[in-house]
Amino acid sequence: MNTSSRLLANWIILGLTLTFLIGPFLIIILAGASDTSYLAFPPEGLTLRWYLKVFTVESFRASFLLSMALAIFGTLAALLLGVPAAYALNRYDLPGAETVRTIVAAPIIVPGIIVGLALLRYLVVPTGVTVTLALFMAHTALVLPYAVRVVSSSMHNLRADMEEAAVLLGCSRFQAFTKVVLPNIRGGVLAAFILGFVTSFNQVPVSLFLSGPGVRTLPIDMLAYMEITFDPSVAALSALLAFMSLAIVFVAERLLGFSRYV
């Protein structure tokens, strides 16, 4: 094969692969704009009414706010637990460090649906904890492994003697952490926050069982809505969510070279 036909073959294969991976998004963007009361593609007439309707559906608004709150506060809580743990695992010669590492990483291995069911059955039901609180804790546990991993890897590159120098120069250990370590791992912590936020916001299985009257995360609410209505509003909402994720990742990449950390 000569070079130019090889190049052509190259781009054809890539084009097909990318069409398969990305094409569906273009389809939902257009399907959400169809001027019909049912899903149609190619769209029959173009309208923005489904995109606007999404904002007026009461349950979408409530579940969007819940998902946002879970993603933000769950990730913050995971960082509050994860940053000290990552620090300790990197800087101290701990007995059982490997055990701690395994326990903290465990949530990645266990499918979310099982975690949700286990928490419902053995936490919510016996202790009467509210579903919202259980959801919050489940999302925290789910994000914790990512927080520890990402922060660990950014701490790994930071030499310990900088802190020792700070202590010798009169800082307390805590000051050495806030003045020397924290500014240096800021990028890693931010990357962990973004990764945690996206993971939590998109998470479905863990919240399947942990929902109650008026307590539903956005993806679960979309699943429920899909079962009763076939209008294009779910397509419109899906498109909007895709844009939101893309915007977050784009900004993160521009600001801190996000992909270095993930």
Binding site: N10, I13, L14, T17, L18, F20, L21, I22, P24, F25, I27, I28, A31, F41, G82, P84, A85, A88, Y92, D93, L94, T99, V100, I103, V104, A106, P107, I109, V110, P111, I113, I114, V115, L117, A118, L119, R121, L123, A141, L144, A160, R173, V198, N202, V204, P205, L208, F209, P219, L223, M226, V234, A235, S238, L241, A242, S245, L246, I248, V249
Partner: protein, 273 residues
């Protein structure tokens, strides 16, 4: 390294305790449930589970679809990764970014697109009825094919990422050298590329396989109750029939599979470093 062990533990333990209480303990109790029978311990839960034909069908279907998705992803992945590695540095970054991006998007959004494509008034059916190939729309949703396509689209990026990073490590001249010495492209693939990218293939394959096994949304939306997979079966067992023993058996199957996959990955990673 600091020597003050107590201080270190004080920093590390909150995370470990939180994970233990909210994760290990509840999940452990759930797993133990299938072994409890009439006040004692037994394997009866497992025997009953696999004695039901539907459960066996779902179990085998889940494995089959997982393997099929992993295999297809490997074939497409090799072609795509090979092309990406051959690109110039600038377009390589852009294309690689486009492959990775879908991973950041909500799986609900990613799966919903297939309803638009395969639904009664979707593209495929419009084309078929438009061309007069069939008078009535075909049932494409709620089939194994639909679930297969959805899972493939969801997890293909993971395979491509693994293979691209494996192929970047192949020394530059090896493939032209093999060609000059008279190897056909097929021989180049099986004797040069495959052995040199084995690890990437195993990593990608495990990620895709376990991902497909433990996906919920795709089988729920595209398979429904007609094409149950282990995760959707678990949900149905709990919500429809309050059957926690089956749920516990399914949970065990899923955890054992994803745990062994994880061990395998760890082993590969440590062998490399």
């Amino acid at each position: 390294m600091f020597r003050n062990t107590r201080e270190g533990l004080a920093l590390a333990l909150p995370a470990a305790i939180f994970s233990t209480l909210l994760f290990l303990v509840p999940v452990g109790i759930l797993l133990s449930e299938a072994f409890r029978f009439e006040g004692g311990w037994s394997l009866q839960g497992y025997i009953d589970f696999f004695a039901t034909p539907l459960n066996r069908t779902v179990f085998l279907r889940t494995l089959k679809l997982g393997a099929l998705v992993a295999l297809t992803a490997a074939v497409i992945g090799y072609a795509a990764a090979f092309c990406i590695v051959n690109l110039g540095p600038k377009s390589r970054g852009t294309i690689f970014g486009m492959v990775v991006l879908p991973l950041m998007i909500s799986p609900v959004a990613r799966t919903y697109a297939w309803i638009v494509i395969l639904g009664r008034t979707g593209i495929v059916n419009e084309t078929i009825t438009g061309l007069g190939l069939s008078d009535t729309p075909l049932r494409l949703l709620f089939t194994e094919t639909a679930v297969f396509l959805g899972l493939l689209q969801l997890f293909l990026p993971l395979m491509i990422i693994s293979l691209v990073s494996a192929m970047e490590n192949i020394p530059r001249d090896v493939i032209p050298a093999a060609r000059v010495l008279g190897a056909s492209w097929l021989a180049v693939f099986f004797k040069v590329i495959l052995p040199l990218t084995k690890e990437g293939l195993v990593i990608g394959g495990t990620l895709v396989f376990t991902g497909s096994l433990t996906a919920y949304i795709t089988p729920a939306i595209l398979g429904g109750s007609k094409v149950l997979m282990l995760e959707t079966l678990l949900y149905q067992r709990v919500n429809v029939s309050n059957d926690f023993v089956s749920a516990s058996v399914i949970a065990m199957i899923l955890i054992v599979m994803s745990f062994s996959a994880n061990l395998l990955l760890k082993k590969i990673a440590s062998a490399r470093s």
